[in-house]
């Protein structure tokens, strides 16, 4: 079998203007009374894509998923699947299946019958059903549990039955609502990779709703970050992390230090921002704002160096402070550094060697510094 990487590396239909989206969400709005759950939202999802809808609870991601499944109808706008409008098509006629957050396994049926349920509805011949159920059980490694009832299974096994049941009908699109939410951390991490392998193997389009950014980053080809019923940014995980388009996304995904300031100079591919903290940042910018404009600068903790000596780039991209807190996490150490104006920033460094001679200690005077391409400019 080919490794995921070799297939994934070249997979970017969204970058190709000639590729046709498999699911097109067009200006969809969903209101519940006065409450706007989804607000004029447009999205394209491509065939074989693993697409994640990421956001805090109440951001409208689940409502969007339920509209794809057919449990809710858009108040306005349209959803097109494989060239066909889904308007007015009830859930039982849509070529999509959903894996529910609660798994929604039928408690009065065995594992086998749960998986066969959808196939029986389609009137598939008995022998074919048996064969397909067998195949699905093997796929999720539950062949020994066919005759069990859901309440006789562990949480992880139930999750896999739910997955097998939703995949049994070979849907064009699989919708997953917080698929790993009920699993413990270790199992969740394992299952993330299993899901990715499965999606690749079956060649299906997956749309997953999650509030767990790590889960979205690990599994998805692209992530749509949602807030207040709108999509804030749609991009690949590295783009979302390294080039957030807004303060919201920068803050929502991972840890970040944000410095507010004013643009003081615009140069050749770089700009300088005089931060309110008192030092000047020089940062790469492709679409520079005008001199004098307000701008923010966001930089991730792992891209900040902490050291005793004054860096060569000072006074640009460097500031003095003292170590305020140290968090030792094993694989890395997180420093909280209090700058001269009292602002506390986070910096992390990888513990690449087992024992450091003379490690940085509490209350120590240090310099923080970073490269010109370490952070991004936030215009809002």
């Amino acid at each position: 079998m080919k490794s995921l990487g070799s297939i994934r590396r070249s997979f970017a239909p969204w970058a190709d203007p000639t590729s046709i989206p498999f699911i097109a969400v067009k200006n969809v709005t969903k209101k519940f009374g006065d409450f706007v759950a989804v607000d004029d939202l447009s999205l394209n999802i491509y065939p074989r894509e693993f697409f994640a809808l990421l956001g805090a609870s109440g951001c409208g991601k689940s409502t969007l998923l339920r509209m794809l499944a057919g449990f809710e109808q858009p108040t306005s706008g349209e959803i097109v699947l494989d060239g066909q409008s889904l308007a007015g098509i009830p859930p039982y006629k849509r070529p999509v299946n959903m894996m529910f957050q609660s798994y929604a396994l039928f408690p009065h049926m065995t594992v086998e019958n749960n998986i066969a349920f959808g196939l029986k509805q389609d009137g598939m011949p008995k022998a074919d059903i048996a064969e397909r159920v067998d195949q699905m059980l093997k796929l999720v490694k539950l062949d020994k549990f066919a005759k069990r009832k859901p309440h006789q299974l562990s949480g992880g096994q139930r999750q896999r039955v739910a997955l097998a049941r939703s995949l049994a009908k070979r849907p064009k699109v699989l919708l997953l609502d917080e698929p790993l939410g009920a699993l413990d951390k270790k199992l969740r991490e394992e299952t993330q990779f299993e899901l990715m392998d499965l999606q690749q193997e079956l060649g299906l389009t997956f749309v997953v709703v999650t509030h767990d950014q790590e889960e979205a980053m690990t599994m998805a080809d692209r992530i749509a970050v949602m807030a207040h019923g709108k999509v804030v940014q749609v991009a690949t995980p590295p783009e979302i992390y390294e080039a957030p388009n807004s303060r919201f996304v920068a803050d929502f995904i991972g840890d970040v230090n944000i410095f507010d300031g004013t643009v003081s100079a615009v140069g050749n591919g770089t700009i300088e921002i005089a931060t309110e903290t008192g030092f000047t940042v020089r940062v790469a910018s492709t679409e520079p704002p005008a001199v004098g404009a307000k701008a923010g600068f966001a930089v991730r903790p792992e891209k900040i160096r902490v050291g005793r000596d004054q860096p060569a780039c000072a006074p640009l991209n460097a500031a003095q402070g003292e170590i305020w807190d140290i968090g030792y996490l094993g694989d890395m150490t997180v420093f909280h550094v209090k700058l001269k104006d009292g602002k506390v920033i986070k910096a992390s460094s990888l513990n690449a060697v087992r024992a450091v001679e003379d490690p940085l200690g509490y209350d120590q005077e240090v310099w923080i510094s970073f490269d010109e391409n370490a952070g991004v400019v936030l215009k809002d």
Binding site: A69, N97, M98, A104, F106, H108, D122, K169
Partner: protein, 303 residues
């Protein structure tokens, strides 16, 4: 000391229901069986033998020897009793089925209602209990009699030109039982539907079921414990029902409750009526055991 006290308390708590059953079910039941094995006498009490402590152990054994199953044989010889049992089971069965037909949609509607109005709906189901059962059954006489409210309504609307004869027929009994026992059917079905995860029906629809199929494949099977409990709660008392057939039924209505009442009061034949009651109990024990089996199964699945 404290531990001993709490252990004692636990024992006491367990003893209470057993003591209740012993004093209010088992002892009376054995008295009924004992009377059913006796023979009628013009005396007080109206049966023989009567145990007397003064006659000693020998007298006790003589009395036991007088016991016979003649009354039970009598029940099989007179077709009246067999007919009364069969007719009671039939009427109770039809009534239970009709109650289920009405109660299920009511319970389903209540379970689907918004959380805010559910307590009100529950209250409305229980509300009829606030007036006397007897008064409510009498009210049905006023409604169903030939010149009653129901016939007047139909006549006024021009749907019929002659009053329907409903009172004093089996239909009046069905109506009376369905009306009286409806809450006992609605409540257990409601409680089984109410705790059901709504995403189960969504999952069924997602997998290709129309809403109606989803109901029959998922919702209805999962509400079976409630349906069984409701049917037992209606069927068992309906078989032995006396008031409703007596007030609403006609002279040709044969129900075991009425037969028993006649034997006991009109004929003053305690031993035969005791035998009738014992057989009725045996007929009902079977469905009760069935009911308990279903309950135990439902509990097992809940775990």
């Amino acid at each position: 000391m404290a531990k001993f006290g709490s252990a004692l308390f636990n024992r006491l708590v367990i003893i209470i229901p057993y003591a209740w059953l012993l004093f209010f079910f088992l002892i009376p039941f054995f008295i009924v069986i004992r009377i059913s094995l006796s023979e009628t006498a013009v005396a007080m009490p109206p049966y023989l033998p009567v145990f007397d402590l003064a006659s000693g152990v020998g007298g006790f054994i003589d009395n036991i020897k007088q016991f016979s199953i003649d009354n039970y044989i009598w029940l099989t010889e007179d077709a009246l009793y067999t007919k009364a049992y069969a007719s009671s089971l039939w009427i109770a069965g039809v009534s239970t089925f009709l109650t289920l037909l009405i109660a299920y949609p009511v319970a389903y509607g209540m379970a689907q209602a918004p959380n805010t109005i559910r307590p009100t709906l529950l209250m409305l189901v229980i509300l009829p209990f606030w007036t006397s059962f007897l008064i409510r059954v009498y009210a049905w006489i006023a409604i169903l009699k030939p010149e009653g409210l129901f016939n007047q309504l139909l006549l006024t609307l021009g749907l019929i030109d002659q009053p329907l004869i409903i009172l004093n027929t089996n239909w009046a009994i069905y109506i009376g039982i369905v009306y009286s026992y409806l809450p006992f059917m609605v409540l257990p079905i409601y409680s089984s539907l109410e705790k059901m995860d709504h995403s189960l029906t969504e999952a069924a629809q997602d997998l290709g079921c129309t809403p109606i199929r989803a109901f029959w494949r998922v919702t209805f099977p999962l509400s079976m414990p409630g349906v069984i409990a409701g049917c037992m709660l209606v069927f068992i008392p309906a078989v032995g029902e006396f008031v409703i057939p007596d007030l609403l039924g006609g002279s040709e209505t044969l129900m075991i409750g009425k037969t028993l009442w006649n034997e006991f009061n009109a004929n003053r034949d305690w031993p035969v009526s005791a035998a009738v009651a014992t057989i009725l109990l045996l007929i009902l024990v079977v469905p009760i055991m069935f009911f308990q089996h279903a309950q135990a199964k439902a509990d097992g699945e809940g775990r």
